[in-house]
C-alpha cells in the first residue's frame, strides 16, 4: 500500500474517470474496437489503483458484492442471453438487434442501435472485472502477509 498524498489525490480523479471510460468502451464496442472485455479490464485497473492508494479494506467496502459473486453473476448474464434465443426456438446465442429512436431537442430523432449482445457483453464485463480484481486481490493478500 502506497499512501503518498500525490497518489491519493490522483486516485480521487483517476478512479471515476476510468470507470466512465470503461462505460464508454463498453458502449462503443459493439461495432468498433472495445467491448465488455476491455471495459472490464479498465474498470478492474481503476479498482486496483484504488486498492493501491486506499488499501484492501477500502476496496472491499467499495465493491457491492464479493469478486466471486461478480464472476458468477457475469456468467449467469452471459448464459441467459443465449438461453433466451434457445427458448425462442433459435440456435443458442442467436442475437437480435434494432434501432431505438430517441427524441432530441432539434426535433430530428436520434437513432441508437441496441442488440441483445450487449447483455452478453455486460456479463463478460462483470466476469473480467471480477476475475482480475479477485486475482490481484488474492495474490497481493498473499504477499502482504
Amino acid at each position: 500500500m502506497m499512501t503518498t498524498v500525490i497518489l491519493r489525490v490522483a486516485t480521487r480523479l483517476l478512479v471515476p474517470l476510468s470507470l466512465v471510460f470503461a462505460m464508454f468502451i463498453y458502449f462503443k464496442g459493439h461495432q468498433s474496437p472495445g467491448g465488455g472485455f476491455v471495459a472490464g479490464l479498465v474498470a478492474a485497473l481503476a479498482m486496483i489503483v484504488h486498492r493501491m492508494s486506499e488499501g484492501p479494506r477500502s476496496l472491499t467496502r467499495m465493491l457491492p458484492f464479493t469478486e466471486r459473486s461478480f464472476i458468477a453473476m457475469g456468467l449467469l448474464l452471459a448464459v441467459s442471453t443465449g438461453l433466451g434465443a434457445l427458448l425462442a426456438g433459435l440456435p443458442f446465442f442467436t442475437s437480435e438487434h434494432g434501432y431505438l429512436k430517441l427524441p432530441t431537442s432539434s426535433g430530428k430523432p436520434l437513432d441508437v442501435e441496441w442488440a441483445t449482445v450487449m447483455v452478453f457483453d455486460l456479463g463478460v464485463f462483470f466476469v473480467v472485472m471480477g476475475v482480475v480484481v479477485g486475482m490481484i486481490n488474492a495474490l497481493s493478500r498473499e504477499l502482504e502477509q
Binding site: Q31, S32, F37, M135, A138, L139, E142, L143
Partner: protein
C-alpha cells in the same frame, strides 16, 4: 514480414525451451508463458503479411483490403486462456513458496509427504 515473424517465433520458442529446461520453477513457468506468446505469434503469421491491408473493422473499407480477422479472434481467445493459466501458475508458485520456502524442483521433491 512473414519471414521476420517466423524468425521471431523460432527465437521465442528456443528461449522458452531453454528456460523450461532449467531446474528452477520460476524459470520453467516463465518458459511456459513465453511458449504461449510464441504460439500466438505463429497464429498471427497465418493471416499472411498485413502490409498494405486495412484492419478488419467495419465502416468505410471494402471487403477486399482487410486483414483476415479470424486468426486475431483465435489469438484473443488464446490470450485470455493464457491469462488464466498464468494467474494459476503464479498462484501455485506463491503457494509452494509459502509451504516449502523453495522454488527448486529438486528441493520440493525431498519434502516429506504428509
Amino acid at each position: 514480414m512473414t519471414l521476420l515473424t517466423a524468425i521471431m517465433v523460432g527465437v521465442i520458442f528456443a528461449s522458452s525451451v531453454y528456460l523450461m529446461l532449467g531446474r528452477e520453477l520460476k524459470g520453467v513457468c516463465m518458459g511456459v508463458f513465453l511458449l504461449g506468446h510464441g504460439a500466438n505469434l505463429a497464429i498471427i503469421a497465418t493471416s499472411r503479411s498485413p502490409i498494405g491491408l486495412q484492419p478488419p473493422v467495419l465502416g468505410g473499407h471494402s471487403w477486399q483490403g482487410l486483414v483476415d480477422p479470424l486468426p486475431q479472434a483465435l489469438i484473443l481467445t488464446a490470450i485470455v486462456i493464457g491469462f488464466a493459466v498464468q494467474a494459476f501458475l503464479l498462484t501455485l508458485l506463491v503457494v509452494s513458496w509459502r509451504r516449502a520456502k523453495t522454488l527448486e524442483l529438486n528441493e520440493l521433491a525431498v519434502e516429506p509427504a504428509h
